[in-house]
Symmetry: C2
Subunit: 332 residues, 2 copies
Amino acid sequence: MIIDCHGHYTTTPPGVGIWRETQKAAVAADPDHVGEKGRIAVSDDEIRESLEGAQLRLQRERGTDLTIFSPRASWMGHHVGNEHTSTFWSQHQNELIRRVCDLYPANFAPVCQLPQSPGAAVDGSVRELRRCVVEMGFVGCNVNPDPSGGSWSGPPLWDRYWWPLWETMCELDVPAMIHVSASCNENLHTTSSHYLGADTTAFTHALSSGFMKDFPGLRFVIPHGGGAVPYHWGRFKGLAADNGWDFDHLLDHIWFDTCVYHQRGIDLLLDVVPVDNILFASEMVGAVRGVDPDTGHHYDDTKRYLDGAVLGDEDRRRIFDSNIRRVYPRLA
Amino acid sequence: MIIDCHGHYTTTPPGVGIWRETQKAAVAADPDHVGEKGRIAVSDDEIRESLEGAQLRLQRERGTDLTIFSPRASWMGHHVGNEHTSTFWSQHQNELIRRVCDLYPANFAPVCQLPQSPGAAVDGSVRELRRCVVEMGFVGCNVNPDPSGGSWSGPPLWDRYWWPLWETMCELDVPAMIHVSASCNENLHTTSSHYLGADTTAFTHALSSGFMKDFPGLRFVIPHGGGAVPYHWGRFKGLAADNGWDFDHLLDHIWFDTCVYHQRGIDLLLDVVPVDNILFASEMVGAVRGVDPDTGHHYDDTKRYLDGAVLGDEDRRRIFDSNIRRVYPRLA
């Protein structure tokens, strides 16, 4: 079986964006706006239509079986409005993911976004995680390490602020993909410098603090091939040695996905990162949607790069399947 | 000849740090503190001693000839104090680099830091650049794309704010290495997530805006192997195609150094980036000072990785020598 651990619902029907734009307008007019959850007007047929020509078609064409599916990352927008803004929006987005998975249980498994908000307590995120996993059968969550949207003004991942969330993840046996949302800082471009910088930053939080040791079952997936980390594997190993950071233990807690959009990048990832710490992913219909003129194939068709890599059958099976089941045990 | 284009004076005699700590204490007590330049008490013998056992010894041991040498990057600290703070400190640091190069003209060529300061006009940096190049024979400068030290609150590199500096660089025919200083944001670790994130961010500023086209002779060196960029070459090419950004023109303006501290990383850099856009560098006695237990050699002995790479003699000569002379014509 081929499991893609990183997909977002980027093709939502128009009703979703309309609800969100209305909410954003209200909170722009009044920063303390609470509002109400209301309803998002989207039919099952609209959901089917939004997926059939996109993610489902690509699953068939590329030969993948199951996508671990979460709300559109760049739309999480935790910096928008206040805690209520994020709460209602996250609930809607997660319920929509649940509907997708109910319509196509063989094709998608649900991962939730959390109602993070700058300055808000983590309790709301803990509650939403518990609701999604316990009541709605979700298998993991996305955690935004910078809910400020590009000024990095909140507590680092090693700060005690996060501990109730880490404890709940351990209790529920679910991993987090550490994934920022859109940048609202003109210095940082969302799907390149912000995403990749955040991946590197999340890894560094874990490495430099060693905090994950205190949470034996805690599991992070670092998306986009780990940002800059594998390319600078020597730098990180050297910094760890210089500073007394425990590099090796980290690999009990950290996995890198394969969202690297050229063959040579994937080759490097496979060469330096232990195979047990690599999870297949494409983030298809995501940041990069075009065709590479050098290959004639979509940049984000990462399965092709893995098929083209020097890799034994057993290692291939781990990356496509068994590693992912180990990180997301609730898939069973 | 083997030219290392990225070295910082990280081993300054004690008088330098003492002067700076005194200045930092004064401006911590009074944010509007101006003070005066005063003198840094360092003798020529102290300078010799600080280099003989470090950079000069390593040049001999590793077989490199000339290091393009600038003040310690992490000490630039543009976020500290006010514009006066940065002005006096930058002048001292640059004058110290001049003394180093006067003592060892065959071993070092001078590059300056600029008196950047959050919210300050760029004029002071233009003046100091002109002083260093015209009066003191400097061959380039370091530009900090985030003088806030990790909150990215200033204008991006494409903003008109910077234009007088770009114009002066073109007029004087000197390049800039785009290099941040220490992070004062606990989310960002100086020599890993902050440095590498800034490298990726600087490249993205140039790519997404296309502003360098307006400055035909403008040349940027992106240090630390370009941050995450070469590893994500496909992502950046794909984003450029999706967004109508001109990827190819950028290579008339951008060079990557070889501060990547393992063989596989260097191999990737050489495989994806055109050889004419790669400059040899080690940043020795810098971020990573230890020995790689897997190789028995220093992580930052990047010449070894280039020696170990599949590379023709002519390409090797370009990376070690002629590309660097082209980017830094004042070396002549």
